[in-house]
Amino acid sequence: MHYKVLKMKRLVILGAGTGGTIMANHLKKELDDKKWGITIVDGRKQHYYQPGFLFIPFDQYKPEDVVKPIQQFIPEGVDFVNISVDKINAAQHQVVLANGNTLLYDILIIATGSEIAPDETEGMQGDEWGKSVFTFYDFEGAIALRDKLKNWQGGKLVVHITEMPIKCPVAPLEFAFLADSFFKDKGMRDKVEITYVTPLSGAFTKPKTTETLNYLLKEKNIHIKTDFAIESVDNDNKQILDYGGKSVPFDLLVTVPTNKGSQVIENSGLGDELNFVPTDKATLQSKVHPDIFVLGDATNVPTSKAGSVVHFEAEILTENILTYIKGQKLEEEFDGHANCFIETGGGKALLIDFNYDHEPVTGTFPIAGIGPLRLLKESRFNHYGKLAFKWVYWNMLLKARPIPFVKARMSIAGKDYN
């Protein structure tokens, strides 16, 4: 007679934000729970709908619209450990928690996202921080900026990106567009000069989108300063200074600070110089440790850091993890698919759809020739799409329910490539 010792295998997910939560929902359905135990770890009690941070400063969303209890989205049967992670000991296949406890894993998924690091720029958190220097890239920052904008009398508004990459790279542009509308509605647009300052050589990195955006910037009388690599914030003279000797004065600076991966990545020696994890861009497997997979903002793959990307990655990663468990070669390939709404103010929005190889172009989405959404063109319908995304996020995306017509791999049908 032989007995087989049935040892449960362990899959551990770090981070219960967008990506970690979606993966927990996918894998709970796909993995045999007699063989696999799933644990998800996050130090927070709240789950933030980060795209909503954009609307808080203009009082279009209330803070309570964008935050829900983190545990609400974690499926039954998945263990939730509500403690921060200190370190990953990849050689020992082990995660060390802030309370000193350890978790062993057979498979680890890193979904620890990215966070702002204003301390990377000299003077950013100086005397003017919270007075005339703000960011909307975290929850508290967005609320503080809302309070500032309520009574601001006008002057030079500078909307600024510190360095790339940042999550949702179009969000600062959207902020500039929405600010234009906001001050128009308040009847004080003539008192506000808006300047958009970017380290890139144009409004966006992809030529066709830049063309469209430049047109909109002009139409809305928003000035643009490109190739500006900030060295420091000069609090005394209220200006930002660049390594090349340029300066831009401000009365109100709305900046997107450097974005970095989580500290735990640095502690574990798993990241690059910004704590992003070197990841195979097609399979989402760690380039160093085969039993570690990475998705979302935590990776270094060359596509946008966005919720839509995380959603597409999660479908492919689920397939890959099942393949990995079977001991087969990973075949599912992520193409870098990203899909972003760009709010342009006045109740309109643009929609862009692109991947590693194809830049955003005009056309229809998600159904070729029909739409109803229009790519790279301003429309009211796109704006409703952006607002509807909040509902989709809380009710479908996090729970890993399929979103009709929208596929993980980008479709080139219905698009005007020439």
Partner: protein
Amino acid sequence: MDKIISGKNISLTDEGFLKDFAQWDKDIADALAAENQIVLTPRHWEVLTYIQNEFKNDVPLSIRKIGKSGIVDIKEFYQLFPVAPLKTATKIAGVPKPVSCI
């Protein structure tokens, strides 16, 4: 798009980056530098060589990365390549445009 640079026919992208690193040589670097009002000094060459090595090892480049390279700090990188330094330096080095910006 093709262009004659220092007597050789070179294929370039729309933005002026070499399509094929194999076509690069030091004369081309000098010519591309001159187009950007830069005269290459030994300091420039240290940076260009670093960039080429990182490219060969498949390491994505960024301004921050060059600042941490131990070869130049960001300030000096700007002195060497005053306008859009990462773009200019990678162009002269003959490697593709960095994708750090998406």
